[in-house]
């Protein structure tokens, strides 16, 4: 089965501390993975995708096929990073469908 698992519902860190949001996937073949973010009172939006190998707002995510993981990391958390984060996997078959994890609420405290 093609599945995404985010084990943490809530992650609370202090400002300036490192952040790691965990994401594991189940997929046979070459996966295409994404991180989406939803800030308070804003629409769900793309944060980054693994094929771009980019850093967005200081966040990076590396695909680890051995561990089937795509954890989201940032060395120094900022207050404005507080949001709901979803890891997503593109499914095989038609329609360009994405399956999402259950999400992790990140709270950055001062």
């Amino acid at each position: 089965a093609q599945r995404v698992t985010q084990p943490e519902k809530l992650l609370s860190v202090f400002k300036g501390a490192p952040v790691e949001l965990k994401c594991n996937y189940s997929y046979s073949g070459s996966p295409e993975l994404f991180w989406y973010v939803q800030y308070s009172r804003q629409r769900l939006q793309l944060l980054l995708r693994h094929i771009s190998r980019e850093s967005i707002k200081g966040f990076t995510a590396d695909l680890n096929k051995g561990e089937t993981s795509f954890h989201l990391k940032k060395p120094f958390a900022q207050e404005e990073d507080s949001a709901m984060y979803y890891c997503a996997l593109r499914l095989t078959g038609g329609g360009n469908k994405l399956t999402f994890g259950t999400g992790t609420q990140l709270k950055v405290e001062l």
Binding site: L46, G95, K97, T102
Partner: protein, 113 residues
Amino acid sequence: SQTIHQWPATLVQPVGSPLSLECTVEGTSNPNLYWYRQAAGRGLQLLFYSVGIGQISSEVPQNLSASRPQDRQFILSSKKLLLSDSGFYLCATLKGSGANVLTFGAGSRLTVL
């Protein structure tokens, strides 16, 4: 650029009543369209997707149905709502051609009492 409109933004309905949520897209033609439901503790669940007018694929068995009467219009419906239909419903479309990035609408919050 693409813009997604969803309405109503908020809806409170009694059990057994019908439902119609509408989604329209601007700035693109022949888009792939998706309905997701965001429920507490369950993340985002894909309900339906459509690759063209009149073409609907259902991802999970449920009390809901979807229709696509026009190229840029996607409707989520129910004949009789259940309590379990409560949730936040998001319409989405693919951003740009050849990309697998979803653009989401602002959502419709449905509460069934």
